[in-house]
Amino acid sequence: MGVWGGFFNPPAPPTKQLVLPRWMNLLVNPFTKQYLAGQDSPQKVFFSWGGKLTIDGVMQSSLPPQWPMIEFSNPQLGPMKTGRSRILLPEDFVLLNYFASATSNVQGGFRVMVYDVNRRRPITIRPANFNTLAGQGAAPLFQQRPYPFGRTVAAGGMSNPPMAKITIVNLESVANGIQFGFFGIIVPGYQQP
């Protein structure tokens, strides 16, 4: 073939994917695979996260579910004000999800910071809008890994029960009635899978 054959018969260029399939690939949400066939409600997803973990299979509790919470309702949190509080938790409390609500939600309602006091670890690095953290009341966001707050620790002669420090910033220009809390269970000795 010689040199000229190389010019006149170049190797075939790699085939290009058609435009429409490429767009479709971009549009596929990678998390959609968590929804199993026949599941009509995202609330069912946490029972089998990605088909790998069934929460019911690894957690057992003989105690009822718990809703420890705080609220700014009487009085409400003032316009643009910051409120601080703590949620004292029972021993061996395991967090499954948050819940939150605000009577005024024009400017975003409120933002919240959550801090694990005994571990000295922030759970939210920046203030999180309450709906992004806790979902909606009728459709809460569940933690993909349940979080154990542990037991009382002794430090400096003090006994510190498990607790979360909560900082809430009202984003509204009016007083806001706010509820924020945890939903979880008590599982002694629970370790994350």
């Binding site: 019911d56 509790s61 705080i70 009341g137 509820q179």
Partner: protein, 144 residues
């Protein structure tokens, strides 16, 4: 090869019969109601889902389990809180009207015959009709 449902029942000695325990209350305007729920005596109840219907969202709820130190399900994490009336029901349970129910995630077994007390407090300024539904299974013991 998977075993048949009947084989599973035979192995455990428990037949899970779908069951819903219902709490109904008509809460007067800005008042409260204290209905209680008794688990049916024929079987323990395995609680999986909680759903609610109410005519106004401005309704708070408290739930406690009698017979075991009156254990509270809902409580203020702030020990200095006063006049704590509970959780807004829309935060507690998914709304049936919105096709949602709260999964209990780790089902809790309520013993047969045990009493669960409720307190509903309205702040809507109008009469509030509420229904709270505990979905789950009666754990019926069967002869093996």
């Amino acid at each position: 090869m998977s075993s048949s449902p009947n084989a599973a029942v035979a192995a455990s000695g428990i037949l899970k019969v779908p069951r819903i325990h219902i709490i109904d209350a008509v809460v007067p305007l800005n008042g409260n109601q204290n209905p209680s729920m008794t688990i049916q005596a024929d079987a323990d109840f395995e609680w999986w889902w909680l759903s609610i219907f109410r005519t106004n969202a401005l309704l708070k709820a408290l739930i406690a389990e009698a017979g075991s130190g009156n254990r509270q399900f809902i409580y203020s994490g702030n020990p200095q809180a006063q006049n704590f009336l509970g959780i807004l029901v829309d935060n507690l349970a998914g709304l049936v009207a919105n096709n949602g129910a709260l999964p209990i995630a780790v089902p809790y077994v309520m013993p047969a015959g045990r009493i669960y007390t409720h307190q509903f407090t309205d702040s809507s300024g109008a009469q509030n009709t509420v229904q709270l539904a505990y979905h789950g299974f009666a754990l019926l013991k069967v002869a093996t």
